[in-house]
């Protein structure tokens, strides 16, 4: 029982270290990975919404654009899959690192 307290403080210490690590940004002019991922996810989101709107407008008869709608839908599909693939890679990489530390 007595061992838990020191461990929990140790973990808190690690957590704090991680937090500190997060706030420390190395700025060499290039976007951080977080920023890149954020941009990609936002872009995929917007594109999906746009494609959805286009498809809806087409179905409602408001728009006529067949190839435009199909292209927009395909682009949204591709981008979503890309985000998913990157997410999977990130998770895989994280687990590798996780295994390494322990």
């Amino acid at each position: 029982m007595s061992g838990i307290a020191p461990i929990s403080t140790q973990l808190a210490h690690v957590d704090g270290a991680l937090d500190g690590a997060k706030t420390e940004k190395v700025h060499d002019g290039l976007p951080t990975f977080g920023e890149v991922m954020g941009g990609v996810v936002a872009s995929a989101n917007e594109r999906s919404k746009f494609a959805g709107d286009m498809a809806e407008a087409f179905a409602a008869g408001a728009r006529d654009d067949i190839h435009g709608t199909m292209i927009a839908l395909s682009k949204a599909d591709v981008e979503l899959r890309f985000v998913g693939a990157v997410r999977n890679k990130v998770i895989d990489a994280f687990y590798e690192l996780w295994r390494m530390q322990l």
């Binding site: 728009r63 006529d64 067949i66 199909m70 292209i71 839908l73 395909s74």
Partner: protein, 143 residues
């Protein structure tokens, strides 16, 4: 926007126009020997007159300025060329000199018109088939 549906509308208007033309030709041929009409005088051959009309559903972007328009029958006119006079004194519609005025319809002319109307109709059908196939290829994108 100018897309598949506008193309179909334009082509359809062309088909209707040619159909009207066919009908007037049919009327002309049917009345090739009609020497008496309710208005008096022989039958006068008919001709449709067409005009270009803006596509209404494209509000805001007048299609005429983009070189695309529907075709519409403006009116059907009578041909006022004189008919052929044939000497037939015994004919009930003969005039004082014994001549009967037959309609100004010439079968050969009408047949030629019929052929061109038919060709124009087919060209319209072809353009419709074309755009349908184009739409199908577009649908294949991303399939």
């Amino acid at each position: 926007m100018l897309g598949v549906f506008s193309a179909l509308e334009v082509a359809a208007s062309g088909l209707s126009a040619q159909r009207v033309r066919m009908n007037t030709i049919a009327s002309n041929l049917a009345n090739v020997r009609t020497t008496r009409t309710p208005e008096g005088g022989p039958y006068k051959r008919l001709d449709p007159v067409f005009e270009a009309v803006d596509i209404e559903r494209l509000r805001g972007t007048p299609s005429l300025s983009q070189g695309v328009s529907l075709v519409q029958v403006q009116r059907v006119v009578e041909d006022n060329r004189p008919g052929t006079l044939v000497y037939e004194p015994g004919h009930p519609d003969a005039n004082a000199q014994g001549y009967v005025e037959y309609p100004n319809v010439h079968a050969v002319e009408e047949m030629v018109n019929m052929i061109t109307a038919s060709r124009a109709y087919e060209a319209g059908i072809t353009s419709i088939e074309s755009v349908k196939q184009m739409a199908r290829s577009a649908i294949e994108i991303g399939r």
